[in-house]
Structure formats: structure tokens, C-alpha cells
Subunit: 118 residues, 2 copies
């Protein structure tokens, strides 16, 4: 499950919905179900996203924080909400993956993006 | 120049500083100078970051928005600040690269991050 912050700007939330759909197609071999959940400000919130995964048959869920920096949302808020979700779904293994900005691969993305302009 | 939002949380800003330093080492062939600039809330702000690039001899600057979603900051605020910078440095070609979240490579990063947990 991709977890994004959520925005008051609908277009920004729509991007996450589209991204999730595309991601689901690209990683169907590793992940049979891919949904999204927002931390705040937008539907679907994280607990509802987890429930969607469970309803679709997930028995183990990887939560992927769609964040670049390890701010309070990554360090505290998402883990706290996920702990609440674990209490609601004690039979489901829910793990939290490193946030996007922690990935070594982000450097390739940065260089590729910048290089399109030179 | 990597442009990040800036945070009240010092650790988050420090991450951008470290990331920029590492990025500079990784793309030294394509970019002779790599600095950072924050949109708000933290030193160094974008105009000061641009000035640092110019002081270090840059004659063309690629601005890379370190943002995942194309919100108001990416669509309006950064372009507005960059336009002000262009007026201050009329002899420097300043272009804005696509924000990180717009990169096709982001999917590989997402799948790799999620896969570390399964």
C-alpha cells in the first residue's frame, strides 16, 4: 500500500491514485494487490486503505511511505496509524518499507531528471 | 540546484544538505557545481542558492524540484521564485527540470523499496 500525505488540492491526490494504479500493473508479480492510503486531508485514509487490501485477500501488507524526507510523518505519524491498523487486523502482517527518499535509487532518478534539461 | 521545500525540523533540512553533497559526487561529470536551495522555512533559500552556483562559476543552472507531487509549490511557487532569480542574473540560463515524482524512474524506486520488506 502506497501511503501519501494527502493534499487539499484534488489534482495532487489524483496523481497518487493514478500512480498507484500504474504501480500495481508494474509490480503484479511481487504484489497481488496494490492500494493507496492518505495520512490526512484526502480519501481514502490509511485505515480504510488497509481494509481494502484485506478485503481483496491480502494476508501480508507492505506499507510504502511516499515521502522524500524522514520528517515527523514518516518517523511518528505513519507508524502510529499502522499500529492502530495492526490492532484492527491482528492476523495480517503489516510491515513498513523505507520511505522513498531513503532509497539508493533516488540518486539515479535525480540525475536522470536533471539531465533531461542539459 | 536541488530545490526542497524546507522544514521546521532541522534533521529534515540536514538530509537535503547531505543528499546534495552525495548527489554532487555522483553527477560531477554532468554538473560541475551542485548546491541546494529551500523554498521556505530553512537556510539557504532558493535565491541564495542560485547566487552560490553563480559565485562558483555556473553559467547555466538546472533547478531540480525535490518534490513528489505537482502541487502549488511545483506549479507556481518555484517558477515564480526562479523568475525573480532570472531577473537578478540575466546572463545565466536557468531551467527547471521535472519534479522527482514526474520521473518514470520513480516506479523502480518504489518497487525496490517495497521489495526490501518481502
Amino acid at each position: 500500500m502506497l501511503v501519501a500525505h494527502g493534499s487539499r488540492r484534488k489534482e495532487s491526490n489524483d496523481e497518487v491514485v493514478v500512480l498507484t494504479s500504474k504501480l500495481g500493473g508494474l509490480c503484479a508479480e511481487q504484489f497481488s494487490v496494490v492500494h493507496y492510503g492518505f495520512l490526512e486531508l484526502a480519501d481514502t485514509l490509511i485505515p480504510a486503505g488497509i481494509s481494502r487490501c484485506v478485503d481483496d485477500g491480502a494476508t501480508a501488507i507492505t506499507v510504502l511511505p511516499y515521502f522524500l524526507n524522514s520528517g515527523r510523518h514518516v518517523v511518528e505519524d505513519i507508524p502510529n496509524v499502522i499500529n492502530e491498523c495492526r490492532a484492527l487486523h491482528p492476523d495480517i502482517a503489516i510491515t513498513i518499507a523505507p520511505h522513498v527518499g531513503a532509497s539508493q535509487g533516488i540518486f539515479d532518478v535525480l540525475i536522470a531528471s536533471a539531465s533531461t534539461q542539459i
